[in-house]
Amino acid sequence: MKRQINEMKVVFPSLSENERFARIAVSGFLSFTDPQVDELADIKTAVSEAVTNCIVHGYPDSIGKIELCVKVAQEGRVYIRISDKGCGIEDVKKAMEPLFTTRPEEDRAGLGFAVMETFMDKVKVTSRQGKGTTVVLEKRICSRRENG
């Protein structure tokens, strides 16, 4: 039987307390897939990085909207899209280099994208200066039922 695709979307302001909300929203939504604990931890970490980027870099001097969409397609393929309409990234390639940060004075490690790339199967970043940034994270998860 073909499974209906399940998806959700939440929009919230770029307040730092919403980093936690975003992680909990994603893990709550994905609970129907019965994911493994470590896979869920990986996804939560990547989501936290992407949302933090929107807050710290997308809207450095203002509060704007962050949109978070999660879709679960066939075979446990999870797609997560996190977008802002903030200032955008001048050089995406450079921004994705490990240890590159524009904020060393705030103890930012410059590892946000490196963490996303380590913990997810695919990370796609599109950005336009003055228009905003969209990050799409992809990971195939195996449910505990499938495994055992």
Partner: protein, 123 residues
């Protein structure tokens, strides 16, 4: 979210509690740095046993404390990291900067072990 700080001799132990992200890291950094300045320890232990979540903001916190202890001529120890946190630490290569231990003992724990500060902040 919070940090429980214990001073024992020249060792300062900061036991981090709850989620470490960009939102919570600022307060945690501030609390630890105040205690370091007040106690002037030779060794700072960051205990992650009660940390429920950590992203790269936690790596920033460790790197920043490493620099602080370097400047003061002291050492940094990272202790009791749960598996999901070890995974985040590995991305950063933090093992090159700090000693990573699975357990530790504070000197003269019974005699001078003293909780100098328990800080909690609202999420």
């Amino acid at each position: 979210m919070g940090v429980e700080i214990t001073a024992a001799g020249r060792v300062l132990c900061a036991r981090l509690i709850g989620d470490i992200d960009h939102h919570t890291a600022k307060q945690l950094r501030g609390d630890i740095d105040i205690a370091v300045n007040e106690n002037d320890p030779e060794e700072l232990i960051l205990d992650f046993s009660a940390v429920t979540f950590m992203d790269s903001s936690g790596i920033g916190l460790v790197m920043g404390r490493y620099k602080l202890m370097q400047e003061r001529g002291g050492r940094l120890v990272v202790a009791k990291t749960p598996p999901y946190i070890s995974k985040v630490m590995r991305v950063s290569g933090i093992s090159r900067l700090a000693r990573i231990v699975t357990d530790y003992e504070l000197p003269n724990e019974e005699a001078s072990g003293e909780v100098v500060k328990v800080e909690t902040a609202n999420q």
